[in-house]
């Protein structure tokens, strides 16, 4: 019998490309996947510098796990908690988990603010948090303003299943890509004229990919702006604990404590442990809202992405250990700062400049516009392909972040060991020197295939690729005794 399955049988989402994986940027990921660098087994492979992962402090965490076997319900010491934890499926989450996360968030901000554990809602990683908040705040067709350059995952996470639009608010390299109120006002007005209802503004602070933080004045004016327009403010503070040098991080919570007029119902924070603690595999996403209706709605939706109670329990124990938390935050910053210095110094020696206002994040924002044949996006893509296939580094081109100025690249540095970092640096140096030489004699330019759609900037980012050194399987929690 021949069965014909009508191809119309799947949903529009199924036949669409909202997942963003059709974009040409997947070349970089494919190149890495097929030829991943390994210090001994594959020293000439592609080095992964496109994944913002924090592996610098795993040893501290591993140490803590060894010393605290009770934190894991999978150890003999922790076993008597097992049944209560394993059966618990309340979407409010374990109270100790919420308390510990609220405590940690406060600590990261130098205890200048406190967070209410009852406003903490779980989600499936920050990815889930963004989607849920979009579902809660906006209907299909409504829009969020997002300053560029921004994390490409937003195109997918905020829009795919929600039907919400994103309106980029451009920034200029001449003022270090800082977001300005003028630009926000303009974008808002344009949306009005296009008859698009703007529901909110999404900022990432510290910024991805810039690695910069917003100063107090800018934050205050942003808060005034959203309050005046009566739109929501979603602050993605996922990199809050990665601010490794002065000035100090100022969170939106701090601004709200000051003497400023703002309807609290408009402010929401997205957080996660994936970057600050280096725990992306745990899938701990947090929505913190000052709006009761949003907390209630998000909580109901959290059933779609609850954090495993085993993980909640572990995180609760770890983050309630104040001594450990303080030590961790300080040490993590120190290592990030050191790594950043070495990298920027190395790049500087090769004549490559990075955004000088960066003082946070797990990456740097590198300016290769000097190497472009012409200041266009096509040239940027061409250069990028060369970097992937010849220099064998998977870096991320600025256009994937909707950056208007061509030639900027994001380079992640916290997901590798020192040795790999030096290999990466030396490859860059060699490449830059070679380019400088070739510029002296004209060379037939290599043609790369792939059309670039400027009107629909491609999306990217399937962060499922394992980090370069992930070995195989076994849960250290189950072994925490030794």
């Amino acid at each position: 019998m021949v069965f014909k399955l009508n191809s119309q049988l799947l949903s529009r989402i199924a036949s669409g490309n909202g997942h963003g994986e059709d974009s040409p940027y997947f070349d970089g990921w494919k190149a890495y996947e097929t030829d991943p660098h390994h210090p001994t087994e594959n020293p000439n492979g592609v080095i992964q510098m496109g994944l913002a992962e924090n592996q610098l402090c795993f040893d501290l965490i591993q140490d803590w796990l060894k010393k605290n076997p009770k934190a894991s319900i999978c150890t003999p010491e922790g076993l008597n908690e097992f049944r209560e934890i394993a059966i618990f499926q309340d979407y409010h989450g374990l109270p100790e988990f919420r308390n510990a996360v609220a405590n940690f968030m406060g600590k990261v901000r130098g205890n200048r603010v406190t967070y209410d554990p009852d406003r903490i809602v779980m989600s499936g990683g920050a990815t889930g948090a963004h989607e849920t908040i979009a579902f809660c705040l906006a209907d299909p067709g409504e829009a969020f303003l997002v300053p560029t350059p921004y994390y490409p995952g937003f195109d997918r996470d905020l829009r795919w299943r929600t039907g919400v639009k994103l309106i980029p608010v451009d920034s200029d390299s001449s003022n270090n890509f800082k977001v300005t109120i003028e630009a926000l006002e303009n974008a808002y007005e344009m949306a009005q004229l296009d008859n698009i209802k703007v529901k909110g503004l999404l900022i990432t602070n510290p910024s991805n990919p810039l690695g910069t933080i917003l100063d107090r004045e800018t934050l205050r004016s942003i808060v005034r702006f959203i309050n005046e327009k009566n739109i929501h403010l979603v602050c993605d503070e996922i990199y809050a604990a990665t601010v490794f040098s002065q000035p100090d991080f100022i969170s939106v919570a701090e601004i709200l404590q000051e003497d400023i007029e703002c309807n609290l119902d408009l402010v929401h924070v997205v957080y996660s442990l994936s970057k600050d603690m280096g725990f992306p595999g745990l899938r701990v996403g947090i929505i913190y809202s000052y709006n009761d209706a949003v907390v209630s709605c998000a909580r109901k939706m959290s059933s779609f992405g609850l954090v495993s109670t085993q993980t909640q329990y572990l995180v609760a124990s770890m983050l309630s250990d104040n001594e450990f938390v303080e030590k961790f935050i300080t040490e993590s910053k120190r290592r990030l700062a050191a790594r950043y210095r070495v990298f920027t110094h190395g790049l500087d020696q090769a004549g490559i400049k990075c955004l000088k206002t960066s003082n946070a994040g797990l990456f740097l924002w590198m300016d290769l516009s000097g190497l472009l044949k012409e200041q266009t996006v096509e040239a940027e893509m061409e250069l990028w392909r060369v970097i992937i296939h010849e220099v064998k580094l998977n870096v991320s081109p600025g256009c994937s972040f909707h950056c208007l100025k061509p030639g900027w690249f994001r380079v992640c540095f916290a997901n590798m060991d020192d040795q790999t970092m030096h290999v990466a640096l030396s490859r860059i140096k060699t490449f830059v020197n070679k380019e400088a030489d070739t510029k002296k004699k004209p060379k037939k330019s290599l043609r790369w295939q792939g059309s670039l759609k400027l009107l629909n900037p491609p999306r990217i980012y399937d962060d499922f690729i394992n980090s370069p050194h992930s070995p195989m399987p076994h849960s250290p929690l189950v072994r925490a005794r030794n």
Partner: protein, 531 residues
């Protein structure tokens, strides 16, 4: 619709009021039906339509929200104040985005306005006053949550014996945190998929072996259902679903997808088993309404009734789906709880016959059969490559925590332990079921003969004051607040016959059953004396 009258005709025998009414209706009828020339017949309806659209578009963005409340725990806020009507009309013609009360999305407002079903209200009440034999003997006994506490001792024993081995790992290799902290594939580690495929196969009596590459793992069965709905249906489409059904589906399927659930009523006369005739009827009715049916959602074993679908019924459902060219989602999450000798036939088994597999998708999870709901492990098993590809991408929003994956890989790979576990689990459930149903019988309450699940479907229609939903909810309220027993009323499960209640017994120990019966007796006797 009445026969169209000519525009000028007046009715012959009206009362005064009626005549005014008819004077209004008749010309409007003419307009709506496009009679009366080009101007009136087309432009006016178009103009009306346009203004209506404008009105709804403008008004949509201004749906309700409360002013900021004091920061109380927002867990119990199903009844938030609605936006006063005047405000919404004021904003009818206001500029898009003007200042007014802050608005959340239409979805969020809808959720806020919905009164929570008794299913959720009951669960919440218990969480505030839970029964504990020693510490809170007067608390509310939970019979409204199908969780299984009967076999933790087995799991704990396994942990004690195996945690050491799992600690050292293969070849005495050092465990590294990279194994749990780093990014993992969103749809689950391959080793876990292999282990889950093996477990599912064991649960389904090893009649079929399942292919790990057809598995997508999610953070619980809840997102699994939602993801399938996003894959198979668009906003406004519908799934047919036999009643009574698990109250959670109303949220899981409808909350964010915009997909409707169309009940296909089953009756006690048929033992609440689905008939294809009823399916056919529901399907046709939906078509008449202009609703596109994309599939059927069945649970086998069923929740809340606890019966299993006979082979023939499954066969007929598959034929029906093929005929109408729609999907089948089969939730088999209670497959491992089949305690009566009756033959449980799972979907993979039926599909070994000649059927178009591309339209069948199975939901599973470890919350029921392995008693680990907290760990959030759900499974989508599909034969459709496109669905699998999309579902895989969607798991980025609902991934299983890595440490839980690791633990489960170890546990599920211990097939000998799993074998013992499944067997013992069934025996204990059966024992409790027997005892519980007997206890209810002595109170004069009959249950449907069920063969699976953690619950029984009890007929308390003789105890309700008025035969209808109100009477049923009254009884539910009495049971909750006087007897202090939380059961799930049939209306929460969309049962068309009033008076049925779902009582889960797997949270109890055998010695708790007399306590439960005593409490129910108290209310039963009051109800009988009133009726």
């Amino acid at each position: 619709m009445t026969q169209p009258q000519t525009r000028d005709e007046q009715p012959t025998n009206p009362t005064r009021q009626k005549s005014t009414g008819m004077r209004l209706i008749v010309p409007l009828q003419g307009i709506v039906q496009g009679r009366g020339g080009l101007i009136l017949g087309t432009l006016i309806p178009c103009a009306l339509f346009y203004f209506f659209q404008l009105y709804t578009k403008r008004n949509r963005g201004n749906s309700s929200n409360t002013p900021s409340n004091p920061p109380s725990p927002s867990s119990s806020s199903p009844n938030l104040a609605e936006l006063p009507r005047t405000s919404s009309r004021l904003s009818l013609f206001s500029r898009v985005g003007s200042s007014g009360p802050v608005s959340v999305s239409g979805r969020a407002s809808l959720i806020a306005r919905e009164n929570d079903s008794p299913y959720y209200i009951g669960l919440e009440k218990v969480s505030k006053d839970p029964y504990d034999k020693e510490r809170n003997p007067d608390g509310i006994i939970q019979l409204g949550l199908s969780e299984n506490r009967l076999c933790f001792d087995l799991i704990e024993k396994w942990m004690v014996e195996n945690v050491r081995e799992a600690m050292v790992g293969r070849d005495g290799e050092h465990l590294s945190i990279n194994g749990i902290a780093a990014y993992q594939p969103f749809d689950g580690l391959m080793e876990l998929k292999v282990a889950v495929a093996g477990f599912m196969s064991q649960v389904m009596r090893k009649v079929v072996s399942l292919d790990p590459s057809q598995i997508v793992l999610t953070a619980g069965a809840t997102p699994a259902i939602e993801i399938l709905c996003f894959c198979l249906a668009d906003h406004g489409n519908a799934f047919l679903i036999p009643t009574p059904y698990y109250p959670g589906f109303d949220r899981d399927v409808r909350l964010r997808t915009g997909v409707e659930l169309i009940p296909v009523h089953c009756r006690s006369a048929d033992n609440f088993l689905l008939s294809v005739t009823a399916l056919e009827q529901a399907y046709n009715q939906a078509r008449k309404r202009g609703v596109k049916v994309r599939g059927i959602l069945i649970s086998n074993p069923s929740n809340p009734v606890g019966n299993i679908l006979p082979r023939e019924t499954l066969h007929n459902i598959l034929v029906f789906a093929q005929e109408k060219n729609i999907h089948i989602i089969c939730d088999e999450i209670f497959a491992g709880s089949v305690y009566r000798g009756e033959e449980f036939v799972s979907m993979p088994e039926i599909l070994m016959e000649e059927f178009d597999k591309n339209r069948v998708h199975i939901i599973y999870g470890l919350s029921k059969d392995l008693c680990l709901p907290g760990f959030r492990v759900g499974v989508i098993y599909s034969y459709n490559k496109n669905v699998l590809a999309l579902a895989k991408r969607l798991t980025r929003f609902s991934s299983i925590s890595a440490p839980s994956q690791r633990l489960l890989i170890s546990m599920l790979s211990d097939t000998k332990f799993i074998e013992e576990f499944i067997k013992t689990n069934k025996q204990r459930i059966q024992k409790l079921h027997h005892s519980f149903v007997d206890g209810l019988k002595q109170l004069g309450i009959q249950c449907i003969e069920s063969s699976a699940g953690f619950y029984c479907w009890a007929n308390m229609s003789e105890l309700i004051s008025s035969y209808g939903e109100k009477g049923e909810l009254d009884l539910w309220d009495k049971l909750l607040n006087i007897a202090k027993v939380n059961v799930t009323p049939g209306s929460a499960c969309h049962c068309i016959e009033p008076g049925w209640f779902r009582c889960c017994f797997t949270t109890l120990a055998l010695e708790d059953i007399p306590v439960v019966m005593k409490r129910i007796r108290k209310v039963a006797e009051t109800c009988k004396s009133l009726s």
